[in-house]
Amino acid sequence: MSAVESEGVVLGGLGEAELPVAAAARGPRTSMRSVGMRMLGGLFVVCLLVFMIGPIVWLGLRAFSGLWQFPQLLPKQWTVAGWRTVFKDPNLSHSMKLSFEFAPVVTLASAAICLPAAYAFSRFRFPGRRVLLISLFATNAFPKIGLYIAMAGVFYSLNLMGTFLGVVIVQLIGTVVFMTWIPTAAFSAIPRSLEEAARDVGAGPLRVFFRVTFPLAAPAILVAMILSFLAAFDEAQGTFLVGVPNYITMPTEMYTLVLNYPEQVAAVFAMLLAVPSVVLMSLARKHVMGGKLAEGFQIR
């Protein structure tokens, strides 16, 4: 991308910089065609709605259902018995608490070790740069289930099994790709001229980073952090491998809860477990939808 374009992207799209030219007038379309198009569009939207939201709503209904047999569209009996069963479970709140303890720590730790690397990847042209970037991505492609036994061996020899740090490392592994690739692209999109200008007026390198570079890259870094948070939050098998006996997080409980209980109770668990993610993402939706994502995954 040219310097102008990249600057435009950083500032939020050249669309904001367009000249106030009135849109050329268009003649009235054939009304039949536009009505037809609209109906088709409407149908598509309805189908999309059913496809995307339907399963969740269906599950939500089931959480309150007593007796519900095919082909009724709604339960015959409504009850909160399922909820009572769930709240009697002592493990649920403990593991939820743990999940919320680990995910932020992992995200920040990941940021701490990956952001400097991202900066290096973006600013310094050292040999093997692309290879390293790609290998960070490639190693995640190996199915983890095939690695547990060897990983257990490594963790044991480093005395990390069953420790807080060990679980942090396991969850961190899944976030490295997000925290290196997206910030690398974000840093690359910031023109060096800005940094050089700051340095010319006497600012030290750290000051330059925190006052010039970081604020411009912040939206993209925030996106990376949110994706990392979710990745750490959802990490199940590896956490169980390392975390036993003291650190069992929510996703690990999830398999047990959803598959082991009768459907009504499982539906209640499912609703409860979706709540944290929903809350989180609704808070940060604007930034994630903002548009920094595509550049994040390009290799330059």
């Binding site: 991308m1 435009g8 992207v9 799209g13 050249l14 669309g15 367009e18 000249l19 030219v21 050329a24 939207v45 999309l48 059913v50 995307m52 939201i53 399963p55 969740i56 269906w58 599950l59 089931r62 095919f70 082909p71 009724q72 569209l73 070790i113 400097p116 690397a117 390293l132 960070l136 991505f137 190693t139 492609a141 190996f142 199915p143 289930i145 095939g146 690695l147 036994i149 060897a150 490594v154 963790f155 396991v170 592994i173 690359s188 959802d234 996703p251 999830m254 959803v258 499982a266 979706a274 993610s277 929903v278 993402m281 939706r285 994630v288 939808m289 994502l293 595509a294 995954f297 330059r300």
Partner: protein
Amino acid sequence: MVLPPVGVIAVFIGFPVGAAIAYTLGKTGGPNSVMSLLAQHEHVAKHGVTTAPYREMLSNPSVREDLWSTVWVTIVTVVVVVLVSWGIALYLRLNDTWLARTVSGLSVVPLFIPVVIASYSIAIFWGPDGFLRSVAYHLGYHGFPSLGFTLTCVVLAEIWVNIPFGVLMMSSGLNSVPNALIEAGRDSGASMPRVVRSILLPMNVIPTVIVATFTGIYVLGSFTVPYLTGPTQPNLLGPTMSNFFTAFSQPQQAEVLAMIVFVLALALGTAYVWANIRASKRAGATS
């Protein structure tokens, strides 16, 4: 400065991957001795390496079925996700109405639902007592197929799970095309489809490739979705791998399957890297 993340990955992932590869070639000592202890029907390399594990798995008919299912489910998912993401992102780009924003908001919902719950709810929704079947029954159509626990359900669920990333990526890519360009195209008399074809499409090859490869890699290695929504046989390689590890106590064979998935994923990854390098070469290496 680059060392920390690379180091972490190298020690905790790279080394186990190396050990796993050695194990599939028959090396059962050293880091693989624990796995070997638990293994039945193992092939041990007397000297050098052996390809017997690979030959055994690739000549196993149900494994071949699973491999083929994994491939076609991946292809179908990728195609549908790319098309739907393009559709939604384009709609949002060209009409900034509340409806468009609602649609794109909805399409990102799956990102916030943990995948275990998503799979579980989709299996129920499309299943024998699910929503569609009940609605069809009420409309008089008693023969509506139950799609729960079929490969079709796996495809539907994988699409559901991967649409958010596709939509985000495509709208991000489409947003970086300045309005001025689109206006210029319209002003010169081009119809909207022509604008899409000649301006938006070529400028967004990279995001499309990203969506395709990331979705593909995800589906290839997925376990939870096919485990909860898939049929008994054939299913994707993820649950099969898990069965070989746990139920059949055949870790070596399971590692072979893991390698197959890894190689397929790497192939996709290579396509992605190649596309990127070509694009950056064409953009004239200004960075």
